[in-house]
Each structure stands twice: as structure tokens, then as C-alpha cells.
Subunit: 402 residues, 2 copies
Amino acid sequence: MNSSIVNTNYDLLPGSYLFSTIAQKIKEYQGAHADADIIRLGIGDVTTPLIPEVIKAMHNAVDEMAVKGTFRGYGPEQGYDFVREAIVRGEYTARGIEMDPNDIFVSDGSKCDVANIQELFTENVNIAIPDPVYPVYLDSNVMAGRAGVLQDDGRFSKVTYLASTAENNFQPDLPKNPVQLIYLCSPNNPTGTVLSRETLQKFVNYANENGALILFDGAYNCYIQDESLPHSIFEIPGARTCAIEFRSFSKTAGFTGVRCAYTVIPHELSKLHAMWNRRQCTKFNGVSYVTQRAAEAIYSPVGWQQTKEVIAGYMRTAGVIRKELTAAGYTVFGGEHAPYIWWKIPDGEKSFDFFDRLLATCEVVGTPGSGFGPCGEGYFRLTAFGDYERTCEALKRIREKL
Amino acid sequence: MNSSIVNTNYDLLPGSYLFSTIAQKIKEYQGAHADADIIRLGIGDVTTPLIPEVIKAMHNAVDEMAVKGTFRGYGPEQGYDFVREAIVRGEYTARGIEMDPNDIFVSDGSKCDVANIQELFTENVNIAIPDPVYPVYLDSNVMAGRAGVLQDDGRFSKVTYLASTAENNFQPDLPKNPVQLIYLCSPNNPTGTVLSRETLQKFVNYANENGALILFDGAYNCYIQDESLPHSIFEIPGARTCAIEFRSFSKTAGFTGVRCAYTVIPHELSKLHAMWNRRQCTKFNGVSYVTQRAAEAIYSPVGWQQTKEVIAGYMRTAGVIRKELTAAGYTVFGGEHAPYIWWKIPDGEKSFDFFDRLLATCEVVGTPGSGFGPCGEGYFRLTAFGDYERTCEALKRIREKL
């Protein structure tokens, strides 16, 4: 095949996806240390089994697929009404937000949706992303040729970075350059911090005044413990004319291996609503029926109670990480309304060096902050998704050995 | 939002996805005829329930998800080894084709894969598509700005159309213009015809000699009844340096509502293999674990036997459609190695007019051939996925009323 036909934007990406790089490092360590007892507080993957209500719903759906009268073939690309309506009731009506089920597009994952949404825009649109943040917003735009080239400072030349650091209390300033697409993530991955109502209102006003669009990733909203903090961008007046919201069941209900998420495009954004509908109808064939019944089950009264208990379990773990690291004299952020703890590395050590040292001395794995953007340098992400006892053991090792 | 930031290539598409248009026509007819008894031989959706082996595997997998020791979170983006290895054994080794499990990328649907693959190529690459064919190859390239504009003859200005008609025995000629990406589909959707070994060898030679790439859609290969016909592009010498293959469980095993497919990129195409791996790791999070166990179960001895029986059932229906239409004096193609029958409309009637007349006189739904490309005009697609008795009833109506 003639190599001149390939999309050379891929060559602008760093060598591999962050978490693949880390998996490789762990594999190498294990290869060299056959008896290693590694505790993984790195990747954001859940470990608690699915709740009984979800298991019951999945068994029922599987049984339906075995019988002629109840077998389901292709479903609507946008998702079945039963799950779109359950989402509206459980996530929006319950918080006093009006929402039309037709504005909910169900998918097999938020990663797909946040990566695919950029297809709806021109190549020369200017984007802004928080720094640090989940790498997919940037990588998907690099692949599409929208980011420019990687510079020596670790930043892409055409991207506006919205610094979200301890110095600004993790509340980024408005972009100084003109931008038309603004990614926001709250609670933030990796910092575990929440954007305030004031910050969100400032961005919504900016977007409406400048014809920009906010792409709001709320994958971790269910971890917000303070009900007065905004869970959804649509709690902010004016958001329906300038914002799209991404939500996932991965962290809400342990669905990382089940695969279900949704994207909310208000019908006020009629052009984008129609384009996304066309995109999904042309390039996607809907979510597994069994998975959609599983998602619906979360919103039954019993399902919701069981879901809240699982989340409370992870938040208990987050609390212990915060408490232990603080007691050991470290500075930490996040972990109060999110399953992520953002650990400030002492003495100016680089985060990838710290990764290696933590693995070598404690056999504990986390994620180097610089993997999430230049402002993540000097920080380290721990997650609260691990087993509680094992996490306590990891903290013991950190206090004794690091 | 400033409308100047949207991808205007979407505006070049026809108004809606083919099958959405047809669904709308049916809905309107039903609205006007409350007692309508419509028989749907239109959309290519399966109706036979999942086989018992698959149901058993899904229940087992759901039970695993309920227990801490066996719960699965994120799986590999490329698919679990157990299913990649089962695919290699069942689909390739069984037909004497060598295949590396690492060349198999498992996904949630062939529609996604065939629509997303174009992302790996430059915007100015020249594409060739069969005419008629499944609309996704063209539509995904229109959205990416690669097709040019729709002309009065129903063709996009930058696309090379490979006529596949009764006149050439549905064996398209090589492209006359230089092209770098060639989509092929065998058995073809909608014509139900199979590309011969000679035709495929001709295209493989062309691709290798001209630095082109073949994108081979084999979604219906399991319906091929003659074992001497090629099931896979990789049966053709030279294909591993110039071809990617798409396969799906949708029609093989009734998975249209279960969601599983796979794409084969030989490691000989090392650059594309790496790029697709990167694309999937960045924009996709793997297939539902329960679904992957379901796919694996097809390849057990019992599962394979049950699967073959379901396919034989559909092929029995296809045979009846062929026989009855032929007996009624019509000319038909396909239906011998595919679940699709390509019905020549008599007297030069347009296929969308014929759709309306068939619905009005017989309350039978099919798919207008022109929806699959200009060469589909004058033809009509029927599918063998419907209930056997209902299909016989549809044929009775056609013989008596049309």
C-alpha cells in the first residue's frame, strides 16, 4: 500500500495512549520481579461487582433474547425510549432540570462520544481544553489535524490550555485567545476537583456571547457529595443554547465492562442535534439490548439505593487516601466529590520519575500527572476504585517506605 | 453557537439515512391505514432468537459480573484473547487460512468499523465503491469531505463507482481512474451475489500493483453455500499486503441487538495495524464482556451446529422467495449464497414508485434499489430474515395482487 495515503496527523500524537504506556511499564516491572505484589491505584477502573438489580435485569433481558416473541434485533441508534426516559427522570427531573428524552443519545461509552463529537466541526475551529485533563479531548483533535504540532513546552501549537491548578483553586480562567469549542470536565479527571457554579456561569456567558460551544464531561457527577454543587451544565442558566453534556454509567454503576453512556444535545442546538443524530445513524448501530436494560435498572428505587451504596464505598476509600496522605505530611486535592486524589509530589520530582520510584519502593501504581497535560507535572493521580483493604495496605507502604 | 464552525460536509448528504426514510414511509402508511397488516421484507434485521449456547454463555457471564472474584471492568480495547482466538480457529484456521489473533480487532459493530476506517486516510484519497452497495461506505466518506458533490446523475463527483449489474454478472471491472481505497462487499448487500475468486484476484493484483488498499466487507460470508467460493479476502494470494476485512456477528448469529463484530488488519500492513490500534485505544473502550462471551460461544461444537441451523432456516426462506418470484415470471438474482434477493422491477418502473405500489397493493415492504446507488435503480431488495410463514403470505399476496 502506498504510504502517502495515510492520515499523517496520527504521527503528531505521542507514541502511545497514556494508559497503554503505563500498562507496559508495569508489565516490565513484573517481568523483572516475579514475586511482585503490586497494588494498582492507577487506571480509573471499578472493582465492585454489578449491583443485584442490574444483574437481575440482565438475566431477564438475556431470557427475552431467547424467545421469538421478545427477541430484539436492531434497536434505535439513539437508544430505547425506556432508558432515555429513565435517564431523564433519574438524572435531570430529580434535580429540577427540564429535559426532553429526545435530547438523550445513548451510546456504548463516553470515550467514543467525546472522541467522535469533534467530527461535527470544521478542521480550523479553535479548541480550548483544561490542563490537566483526560487525554481523549486532545488526542481526538490531534488525529483530526486540529491541534497543530507538539511544541517543546509539551503544548500543541493551536490548542488553548485552560490551566486548572492549585494556584487558581482549580477554577480555570476564560480563554484569552478566541476559541469556539471549550472542553470542560467536572468533577475533573485527574484532579478530582469540581467547577463551581460561578465558574460554569462565567463559561456559559462567554460561550453565548462569543458563539462558542461547551463540551461538558460529567462522567463523575454521581460522586459529588455536596448537593449545592452543580452536577450538570444544564443547571446553569443559558447552557441549553451553548452546551453539550457527556455522561457515563462506567463510574456511576460499575459499567466499565458493560458499556453504556449518553450524550445530551439540547434541541435548542438544532443543527448539532440533527448532525449528531445523522452521525449516529450512519456510523453506529445502538447499544446492546441487555446493556440498556441494565442501565434502566439503576433508576428503580432499589437499584438507585444499591448504586448509592457502591459509590459510598468508593468515597470511603477516597477519604482514607486523603486522610493518610495528609497525615503523612503530603498535600492532596480532590477525593471529596470525586474518586480521584491529586497528590502533590514533594521536592519538584518529575511525575514519571515518581511513578518509577513509587513502583520500585512500594509496588504501588498510580498515574503520573504529566500524562494529563503540562500543568499536571509535579502531581500524581491515585484512584479510589481499588479494594479498600488493599488501598489501606498501599498507604501503609507509602508511609513506611517512600 | 456560531454556525460557521460546523462541518458543512454533512450538508452534502441526502436528507436522511436510507432506512430512516423507509421507516418514515411505513409509519405514514400505518397512520392512514389503522388495520394495515404489513409484512416487512425490507430492513436486514434478523428475527430468530439467539441460540441456546449463546444464551447459556450470556447468563454465565452475567453471573460472573455479580461476584468480586470474577467481575470484569475495562477489557482490552482490541477484544479479549478468548474471543480473538475463537474467531481465528472458527473462521480462518477452519478454512485453511493462517491468521494471527493480534490481527483481529473486536468491536461493537461492522457499521462502526467500516464508517470509522476512513479516518486513517488523507482527505484527498480517491475512493471506489461498488454500485449498488450498503450506503455506509459512501456516507462516511461524504461526511469526511472526500466524495465531492452530488451530481444530477446521482453520483458524487470524486467517487469512482464500480458497476455491479446483471450485465457484468455482478463482477465489477477494475476502476478506470486511479483509486487508492477500494470498498468491496461479498456477498453483496443488496444484490446477494458473490464475487468470484477470479474477480477478487484481479482486484488484489490491482491493489498490490498500484499501492491501493481493499476494504473488504464480508458481513454475510456465513451464507455462502458453495464451499469453493471465497469466504474471505485472505483466501486470495497477495491479499495480506493490500486488504482489510470486516466481519460481523449480526447476521451470522443474530447479534443485531447484541452488538459484536471484528475487523482484520494483517500485521503485514504494519502502519495501518498500528494506526487502527491507536484509533481504537483512543476512541473506543472495548465490547461488553457479556457480548464477547456470547460471541465465543458460537464457536463451540454445539454452538456452531445451532448457528448453522439458524442460517439454514433463513436460506430456506430465501429459496422460497427466489422460487415463487421466478414462478410468477419475475427475474431475480442473489438469494443462493446470501439472505438478500435482488428483484428486477418489470417495465422500467422506478424503485421508490415500486416501493409505494407494493406497500399499497400488498402491504409488503422491501427496499428500493436506488437507495443503494444509481445502478440499483430498477431493482428491489427483499430479505430472507422475516418469519417463514409471513414471507410465504407476502409472496402469495404478490402473486395474487401485484
